[in-house]
């Protein structure tokens, strides 16, 4: 990420561009800033009352009330179970399939690869009605597994790993086979350790997309014991909207968006690289 426009840029033009950048980023940040500010404003005090930024007083009341409204710990746990349960199974399925497609010859391989790619062309989210029926038929309605199961096979992940595995020298593979290593030993001792960056990139994309998922969990869950954070937030929006309880809503929103935002701030580089590389491959 080096700057290409170095010395030719006049100081004036350069500082003008810098100002424009700050202004644009500031506009983009305004919603976040006011979300946080609203969340510490006294309840039912509109932004026009008191100081526009800090209101008449700073209070944690909204957080304590928001915390009481819903069983947040259960929802955090549900979101966590959803993303971890999805990711762990994905690691197994994409590893074995990625290896088969990268390093094995078998009848129908190319056709099967194209069939698998259909998942990327028609995402499961579009097939809401049919997948809802499947979940019911499997007797999984309102369970954690129902949220995860459509993602337990990931064409995207298989493609990423196929690419990574193909970059590993074939000689390593052959030497280990001579020593009598099984496919699973090969994977465990050679392929997986050498592809850690790819696994991380996949994990970042998988975790952040499922942590944020909403419509599918909303559709196939019913009870608080199973529903993730996003669905809980939706309920809070309903409640808040009717009573104009926006300070409360913003406190709830902060509770929901904080974990992933903190992880992002800490691992910003990782995130940026993962999104960029997984996107372009």
């Amino acid at each position: 990420m080096t700057a290409y426009a170095g010395k030719r840029e006049t100081t004036l033009a350069s500082s003008l561009l810098t100002m424009i950048t700050f202004a644009a980023a500031a506009v983009w940040l305004v919603p976040l800033i006011f979300t946080v500010l609203m969340s510490v404003r006294p309840p039912a005090e509109p932004v026009t009352q008191g100081g526009i930024f800090f209101g008449s007083a700073i209070t944690w009341q909204n957080y304590t009330r928001a915390w009481e409204i819903a069983p947040w710990l259960t929802h955090y746990a549900n979101s966590l179970i959803f993303v971890v349960g999805t990711l762990v199974v994905q690691f197994f399925t994409i590893t074995t399939a990625g290896y088969a497609f990268a390093r094995m010859r078998f009848f129908g391989r190319d056709v099967l690869l194209v069939v698998m790619l259909l998942q990327l062309m028609i995402p499961p989210g579009v097939l809401l009605v049919q997948n809802f029926a499947t979940i019911r038929d499997l007797g999984l309605f309102d369970t954690h597994v129902a949220m995860m199961i459509p993602y337990w096979g990931s064409a995207f992940g298989v493609l990423l790993l196929r690419q990574a595995f193909r970059g590993i020298p074939l000689e390593l593979d052959e030497a280990a086979r001579m020593d009598g290593a099984s496919v699973f030993q090969l994977l465990r001792h050679i392929y997986v350790p050498l592809s850690v960056p790819t696994y991380i990139a996949f994990a970042v994309v998988s975790v952040s997309s499922h942590w944020n998922e909403f419509l599918w969990p909303l559709l196939i869950t019913q009870s608080e014991n199973v529903r993730p954070l996003t669905v809980a937030l939706n309920r809070l929006i309903r409640t808040a909207d009717q009573g104009s309880l926006y300070s409360l809503l913003m406190a709830g929103t902060v509770l929901v968006i904080a974990p992933l935002s903190i992880v992002f701030i800490v691992f910003q580089r990782r995130f940026v690289e993962s999104f960029a590389s997984s996107g372009l491959k």
Binding site: A5, A100, P123, V183, N212, G279
Partner: protein, 299 residues
Amino acid sequence: MTARPRPSLYARALPYLLIAPTFVIVFLFTLKPTVSAVVDSTFRPARLPQDSPSFVGLENYLALFDPAHHIGARFGGILLNTLLFGFGTVLITTPLALTFAVLINRRLPLRGLWRFGFVYPSLLPVIGAASIWAFIYADQVGLAAAIFGAGNPNWLGSPSLALLSVMVVHIWSQTGYTMLLYLAGMQNIPRDLYEAAALDGAGDVQQLVYITVPLLQRTTLFVLTIAFTFAFQTVDQLQALTEGGPGDRSNLLLYFIYQNIGERRNWGYINAMTVILGAIVLVFTLSNFLLFDRRGRES
């Protein structure tokens, strides 16, 4: 592994065993539902659950485009909204993201902070973004009301503004991710090109127009296809902001499908709509694959 006496059978079966878990999922949640959506879209559900549905050919599709039909009366507008939403958001997000990428790809104080400013909306759950904008758009007590004062329109409740207001949320949340893709693309442009151009007396603007933008063409194609695909599948914000209203003026296809899931008598139409939505998404994803296929083969 029980096939030790006949190792060749195990060896031959092994690749299929390795891909089996993935394929079970792809079969259950992609192949089977795709086929059943297409098949079921040609049937009309029976009035009673125990009776079998009757084959009606393309009647469900024709009904969708018949303004006198109870679903058709709504479908046309919703399809139009969906296309407007898709094209409108993508055609604004993409140039905006390129601009931001160019702005941020320079020597800047606190660059990490500004990058975070652009990118964080893409990391929020769409429902979280919608929640924030529910406050911004809120009548009288919202942030927009504080800015516009007495002239503040009813953003989500007015028929002419509802769709636009929902599009703003999508643009705000997607631009940062697109910007990241552009930033990654920019790192692949050789620096000597800029140095050579600078030696030949090309200014910054000329470098941008003749080097950066043309060399990002591939990234742009890629960005466009994924942005369209994503736009057609993202309806979470509707649940929080407008529920498709007022009077379907902000309704989108996938959300309309979601709203009708419980209506057994509409199943034929829902399946027909799913097929149409799937076809729209397929056009974009397929073009992505055809355009980028060569890249995958190279390695």
